[in-house]
Assembly symmetry: C2
Homo-oligomer: 432 residues x 2
Amino acid sequence: MNRNIISILIVSLQIFSAEKANAQINVNEQRIQTRIDELARFGKDSLGRNNRIAFTKGDVEARSWYMDLMKKAGLEVSIDYAGNIIGKRKGKNALLKPIAFGSHIDMVPLGGNYDGCVGSIGALELITVLNENNITTVHPLELIIFANEEGGTVGSLALAGELTSAALAQNTNSGSTIGQGIKRIGGDPDRVKEVKLNRGDLAAFLELHIEQGGILEKEKIQIGIVEGIVGIKWWEITVQGFANHAGTTPMDMRKDALLAASRLVIAVNEAANSFEGKQVATVGKISTEPGAPNVIPGIVKMILEVRDLSSEKIESVFKRIQQKSDSIARSSGTTISFQEQNVNTKPALTDKTVQDAIMRVTTKLGYSVRYMQSGAGHDAQEMALICPVGMIFIPSIGGISHSPKEFSTSADMARGATVLLNTVLTLDRELK
Amino acid sequence: MNRNIISILIVSLQIFSAEKANAQINVNEQRIQTRIDELARFGKDSLGRNNRIAFTKGDVEARSWYMDLMKKAGLEVSIDYAGNIIGKRKGKNALLKPIAFGSHIDMVPLGGNYDGCVGSIGALELITVLNENNITTVHPLELIIFANEEGGTVGSLALAGELTSAALAQNTNSGSTIGQGIKRIGGDPDRVKEVKLNRGDLAAFLELHIEQGGILEKEKIQIGIVEGIVGIKWWEITVQGFANHAGTTPMDMRKDALLAASRLVIAVNEAANSFEGKQVATVGKISTEPGAPNVIPGIVKMILEVRDLSSEKIESVFKRIQQKSDSIARSSGTTISFQEQNVNTKPALTDKTVQDAIMRVTTKLGYSVRYMQSGAGHDAQEMALICPVGMIFIPSIGGISHSPKEFSTSADMARGATVLLNTVLTLDRELK
């Protein structure tokens, strides 16, 4: 055969292969649900509650169960020095960078069975379906289960080269430090620096996840395409008034720190609502000193959190809050100060090309879809430092997350896994 | 001598005696200050802080010191079953009921050296000055130092017959129960019921006290005549919203319990200010659940306190707050409930005749004076159940009380003791 004929044959085969993919490959909804239920059995505490905290016995057992499934699916499984589980599947072209996907199986204390799990089981389903359909992608594939996502995206931080020695010494909800925990799950805290990937080491990274909010369910939309993961910034607010006897101090002689703080909580809400966009601002924690019913509060401390896809927007919201605080302080005879906290993560944008691929796949599948932001942090955020990333959201019933009440339907999980699978196949065709 | 001549002679002697009193008797400002300073030395904790809590070693030692001074002043001193110290001084007419006066020498944890002490040292000064001037009143006199005022006006409650068995079993800041504490200071908890006085057993009761507020100082007025001691009522407020992820829940899908609670704190302030009068309403204590910076508060609990001289006014203020809470709950998607607490003391009015006597005495002395209410509770409140009561206030610098920073000048203390002394002498002449 001459070169032209070979080329034509290859193109034909590729078309045939693509058509075959579009025509035949389906995820197995029942298998996804069964595996979600099996995974949920790991990490129950003595009271039968969900406590599969990273580095605990439940986490170790669930990881072992998951790695068995990876091996049965033919993946070449290893644990890197940061404790990430990596499952490799060869592609036709070993020179291409791998397309990666995955999520996490650890949970917050008293957490739910869908956060991280849907993406992890969905990634496994992807491999299983490729196997069932005898499909070999052009790119190598990598399924990654990240170490300790809920304790601060530890595994993906390490891959991005951002896991510091100080972080390794931090205590975790498991009772051990991050360093000790990494050792317990098969990593090596002394060598975590070696897992660092450079920009371009992966062709792309995709994560399927539950929304953890109520937008998709409320709008009856099946798939969310994540435009980016919001940045988060915290400030401690101190309102200093004057503690005094609540019986003997007339209303017009008070410097009530809680009254001023209450006006500020309302100002925080108004500031967040005063801009176009999806920014959120929250006061979740408040305390008064001395905190007695018969003493006018002298000091109130609160934590202010602002999140948005744009760092500038976060600063704009904060500035508006600060401006309002000036007039509140003046009119109430208090002083109000803001102290930046250590929590200060930058927003991470997903890749336009990847977003576009997800949109085409979803539309072709006939699923309803919208763009949205992720208000919660994810490993994809750190992976964005390495390669183009994309995130696929499915509805969370009631918008509930980080709770045993967290729930997504098997139909939604299947749709999410189908979008993940077809997006990987699309990128496999389109990326170089 | 015939009867008429005898009558004229007696009246002349009384006039002479009264003139002598008006002309000569002065309290000793330096002696008052010295005794205040001596009393302040009792009840320091290991860190040198003021902790003369009722029933503790410091309280016992201070009481012993005080009783020595009473004895040196010629009083017949006893401790009743409730632990009250009673110092008796005979009058010319043993058939008349005693005129009583006094205060307390126990303090709140980390308290000040003037609350209670000024009235106690002022009462002792009264006796001392009568001795120095060889004055014998017509009525018998009783100087009362009440047991455990700060822990709930325990001694005066017992005199009013209102100290229950349940109260005796309550724990106190001293570490022991009220019953155990009463035993430690020389009382007998099994016999407290026997100390009960009936209405009319005393001709009157007077208490000199620091204002504990900032009104007198602000208005540059030397003496306050207390019209009444406010009633106090507490409610626990529960705001029930919905706890959710502060990152993934858009602003318009929140049921933020703290945002609603903040509106309510402002409504409490507005309700207290929306009536004529001196009523006060305070939220001194607040907590959020779960209380994490990255979770929208699901539940807020607060304590609402309302005080006024009129029970009806307290209810009116509360009803207005409740009305506002209905609209706040509706607009925020929360529910707000109010639970009455055990703290529910009735207002106590002082006696018009006694008020009038204090006013005449103060005016004659040339001191500036105003009527006012007491926002704090006092033993006089319980004594009002037994006899006509009056209270004399002197300025608190900065309006500060229940604090080591509590302070009144020796000149103000001397003026207060002078008013107390002359009011007792006036009532002695005028009461039957």
